[in-house]
Amino acid sequence: MTKSNDQSRSGGSSRRQVLATGLGAAGMGAASTLLPTRRAWAGAEKKLKIGFISPRTGPLAGFGEADPFVLDLARKSLAKGLTIGGDTYEVVFLDRDTQSDPTRASQLAKDLINGAKIDMMLTTSTPEVVNPVADACEAAGMPCLSTIEPWESWYFGRGAKPGQPCPFKWSYHFCFGVEQFAQTYLSSWNGDVKTNRKVAALAPNDADGNAVRQHLFPILRKAGFDVIDPGGYEDGATDFSAQIAHFKREKCEILTTFPIPPDFTRFWRQAAQQGLTRQMKIVEVAKTGLFPSQIEVLGPLGYRIAAAAYWHPVFPYASPVSGLTSAQLATAYEHQSGHQWQQQLGASMSLIDAGIAALKASGMPTNKVALAASMGKLKTTTTVGVVDFTTGPVPHVATTILIGAQWIKSKPGSKYKLDYNTIENIEDRKVPVQAKLLPYRMA
């Protein structure tokens, strides 16, 4: 019943309908077996509607690739309903695709709040998705939980000022931030691979690029690294000869960069053409290199690139909602999709884990004030580790961990082209370290 409403509303674009139909069918099966029994004893229908907004198509689609799988898993796990304070609620996920468009993200959020009358909003993956959704929820008094956007971009990017009281009432965010980047980077760079400590820093002139320029680079400089920053370039640049010449002249041996994926592909190939890759010993990327496909396109130039991971199958944490350990989650995804696991899988699962934990802790999940209050006090363990809003750096924010990891050529006979091994664990000693950082070299 709910599902069919859901689908009619999401009409318009054929590709979204294909996804929605697939998911809807799964959800509908669950709901139809559930409805008669629950009605029999519950009398009144108690339902919790959860909005889930993420980018499934468009340039950010890599982030949303595993979301249908995760939502399917959550729907199946919660098919018997959720018991809170003695009442059993039917849980309905209304998932929406922003098509990587911030304006659309905001519109979808408003539709879910005013049209579908949801009880809670979940949203994930990049400022272009999370910020507009969180803003819409803040304006409408809707409890909103989000992840996977450095928390500084979420907090300061939405108008909060350092040293002033938190301006938010309804939106909560858990993610790593600049400090986590700094810790894992310093741990990786001060390890076995010896360098001249000269860091080539390539960051674009966008929200994330300017955030690291302002907050991360000073920390690295203080830690004794000479950070060479030629200045921000515009996203979508076709040529990086100027920056490459600059880095060559300065004899940099470490690269740190925060580009959108296509820009890095171009930059790194040009760097190889113009001889920059030969002098590099550690190549540390962020924002790109998160998913196998983004490294595979580089061919032999992609081996031994390091990229900090916000989730990995070796994480010793399980999902309370699905009951799967991190390793089981990755295996289940690879089995069902035929694709290699990717880290957003764990992050999207953790968002649902944390959301359900907040609903349970509230005692009154349909009461928005109670739900928002329970988010603010939330302390729970999810797929990505501990999420603790009581000890966050600022109100309404909880930090999660980053673990150093490196892409290497997979062993012969592997199903996939690349392996992604953890190389350090300074932020959480419980996460196993699989290998040592290898110096970059063109294979």
């Binding site: 468009g58 200045g231 040529d239 100027a242 592909t265 396109v297």
Partner: protein, 303 residues
């Protein structure tokens, strides 16, 4: 030395822009159609090449031999199904129709191939990052050199074809006055189909260059369209050699801008584009006017 390197890299980049823009320029020169699906069609070509490569396990260069005829076929369908019909409706309709085609293509490609970023880099071995070192600060990328040579060859070849061959004369006649051409025994419809097929083969080469030089995904077309458009406008709409000059001007402007400050890279390209546009609208004389007149003397400019 850094400036020499930057200008040299800018010229090579310009060759890439010209190659990306060639099909757009040709279609505009011959049919007065601003093809907003240009970028998406280039991405379609790249995906075609990917499929051929995947099925037959051959190098993308051999794959071109199969992809280009396929693109020619796409051109025929595109001409008969979209352009021919929409051209009857005035100036605005082809613009809207090709925009629609681009949306349609992007989403079909997404439905078929998903959102993953692709590239031919791993299929062309060391060519994707190989280079010749001229001295300590100047390296010439082998792939960029190949792309530049291809742009020269393609634009030169098309120029020869238009000026020297029977088909070229027919295309020019149709472009200048379709009715008069029809009176002389030319079937403008067939000529346009042939021209569209040729344009799509040029788009096919652009798609291959895109896939080898950088990466593509179903929604990558839009960004390609912008640079192609700027190269065409800077060089003078409808002129093939002008497109090469336009591409090089754009490439040098971006690289010189980036050397002053990375912020200025794209801005300086856009500023040059706008300057040329303004000067052209004012019918400026002097150096630009001379250049423009030279470009206008090219056979494809029917103004």
């Amino acid at each position: 030395m850094i400036w020499i390197n930057q200008i040299l890299q800018g010229i090579l980049l310009g060759g890439y822009y010209a190659l990306i823009a060639a099909g757009l320029s040709f279609l505009f020169g011959v049919m007065r159609v601003i093809n907003l699906a240009h970028g998406s069609l280039a991405v379609l070509a790249a995906f075609l090449l990917l499929v051929i490569d995947h099925w037959l396990g051959i190098s993308p260069f051999v794959g071109l031999l199969l992809m280009l005829p396929a693109m020619a076929l796409v051109g025929v369908v595109f001409q008969l199904g979209v352009l021919e019909r929409s051209l009857r409706g005035g100036v605005l309709i082809p613009l809207l129709a090709t925009f629609g085609v681009s949306l349609l293509l992007d989403n079909i490609l997404f439905a078929l191939f998903g959102a993953n970023t692709r590239s031919f880099a791993s299929h062309i071995g060391t060519l994707s990052y190989g280079s010749w070192a001229i001295n300590r600060s100047i390296d010439i990328s082998q792939l960029d050199a190949l792309i530049f040579a291809t742009a020269l060859g393609l634009l030169g070849g098309m120029h020869l074809l238009l000026t020297r061959s029977q088909l070229g004369r027919m295309i020019r006649a149709t472009a200048i006055d379709a009715d008069a051409a029809a009176l002389s025994g030319i079937d403008p419809r067939r000529v346009r189909v042939a021209a569209a097929a040729m344009a799509m083969m040029m788009v096919g080469i652009a798609g291959a260059a895109l896939g080898m030089r950088s990466s593509f995904e179903p929604y990558a077309g839009g960004a390609q369209l912008i640079y192609a458009f700027e190269a065409v406008v800077i060089g003078g709409t409808g002129s093939l050699w002008g497109t090469l000059i336009g591409g090089i001007v754009l490439g040098i402007a971006q690289n010189v801008g980036a050397t002053i400050n990375p912020h200025l890279s794209q801005i300086s390209g856009h500023v040059v584009f706008l300057l040329v546009l303004v000067l052209r609208m004012r019918g400026a004389g002097g150096l630009l006017g001379d250049l423009r007149r030279k470009i206008r003397r090219q056979p494809m400019a029917p103004t």
